[in-house]
């Protein structure tokens, strides 16, 4: 473990200790924070395992050529259309969209398509938009979607292009360590501790 992980571990332990002591001595801010924490995890657990099972199936079953053909650099406008459709049926939000996007990218989807997917899944998920429609009305929802979706696509194309030009893509924390260990030939072992 490096120093960074140690710091993280200490923070987590302190936090949990704070929550438990608060519960014991009836310290209300600590209890409130603790219940927020539990409430939020309960929410995550309802979605995340299912999302990751789907990601796992995707990684094993879908081959690289298929993803490249439909979402890769050569797919053109169709790739972006697919990204919008996929985002519409995404459940959960950023914390589901980003892992999905990462898997798609690893299988050869273009950067612009990936950013479109992440951005669009923030503004246009059908279940969420139904709530918006219900509470804010058609005009509000229509303006928000009509303005944000084209901007999401445009900015994603530009961001994807500029990153590609710099020859930079995703740079996940820990993947560097994986590449380094690949060179030394003990990839699998180290990879387990990193992302």
């Amino acid at each position: 473990m490096n120093r960074r992980s140690w710091v993280k571990l200490v923070v987590v332990v302190c936090y949990l200790a704070f929550i438990m002591i608060s519960a014991m001595i009836d310290f209300s801010p600590g209890k409130k924070i603790g219940s927020n924490f539990i409430y939020f995890w309960a929410d995550l657990i309802k979605v995340l395992p299912f999302a990751f099972v789907l990601i796992g199936l995707f990684e094993v079953w879908v081959n690289r050529e298929t993803v490249e053909r439909h979402l890769g650099e050569e797919s053109g406008a169709r790739g972006y259309l697919w990204a919008l459709v996929l985002s519409g049926i995404t459940v959960g939000g950023v914390f589901v969209a980003v892992p999905v996007a990462y898997s798609l990218h690893k299988k050869g989807a273009a950067l612009g398509v990936i950013f479109t997917y992440i951005g669009a899944s923030a503004v246009c998920r059908i279940p969420m938009n139904l709530f918006e429609l219900l509470f804010m009305g058609l005009k509000f929802t229509a303006i928000r979607l009509a303005v944000s979706l084209p901007l999401v696509v445009l900015s994603s194309v530009l961001l994807g292009r500029s990153l590609k030009k710099q020859n930079a893509g995703f740079n996940p924390i820990g993947l560097d360590a994986k590449q380094a260990s690949n060179r030394t030939g003990k990839s699998e072992l180290k990879e387990r501790h990193e992302l």
Partner: protein, 161 residues
């Protein structure tokens, strides 16, 4: 929400019928991926639990109704960027604020940044995208939110009132 359960169960069953070994492998991949990202999620949930305590719903309602338009907008962006709530809570809250007299423009800024800009989800984004891309993505999202807000204000005639 229920749709994801149905789709997942269906997909696993189909996969099992087609190839058992591949299915087991998929589940292993899923488990390993989830284990790897758990620390980032832990950091995020710790942030969220503290932020929700510091900025409860009542505070949001109080500040968004600010008379000064520019200040109200800035507050909407800041609150929208740092807080995090699912759509089925956010939009009912917006609807309630609308009835209290908060403008469409402010609510558009609040809800758009709420969905698109994630200060609290940053640990998770960063783990997958890297620091630079995650920062860029959030900054671009903030700019998009500003454009959306201004056009909403224009369409509802609130911008120059």
């Amino acid at each position: 929400m229920i749709s994801i359960y149905i789709i997942t169960v269906f997909a696993v069953v189909v996969s099992l019928i087609a190839d058992r070994r591949k299915t087991v492998k998929s589940l292993k991949v899923a488990g390993r991926k989830m284990l790897k990202i758990t620390p980032a999620f832990l950091t995020m949930t710790i942030f969220v639990s503290i932020a929700l305590y510091l900025v409860p719903d009542e505070t949001i309602s109080r500040y968004l109704g600010h008379e000064n338009k520019v200040l109200g907008l800035v507050i909407a962006y800041v609150l929208g960027s740092i807080t995090l709530m699912p759509g089925f809570i956010a939009f009912p809250l917006c609807g309630m604020l609308l009835e209290k007299g908060v403008s469409y423009m402010i609510l558009s800024g609040f809800s758009t940044t709420l969905m698109m800009v994630g200060v609290l989800t940053f640990p998770v984004e960063r783990a997958y995208l890297g620091t630079k891309v995650a920062v860029l993505r959030n900054l671009i999202s903030l700019m998009i939110a500003v454009v959306v807000t201004l056009i909403t204000g224009l369409c509802f005639g609130e911008l120059f009132r």
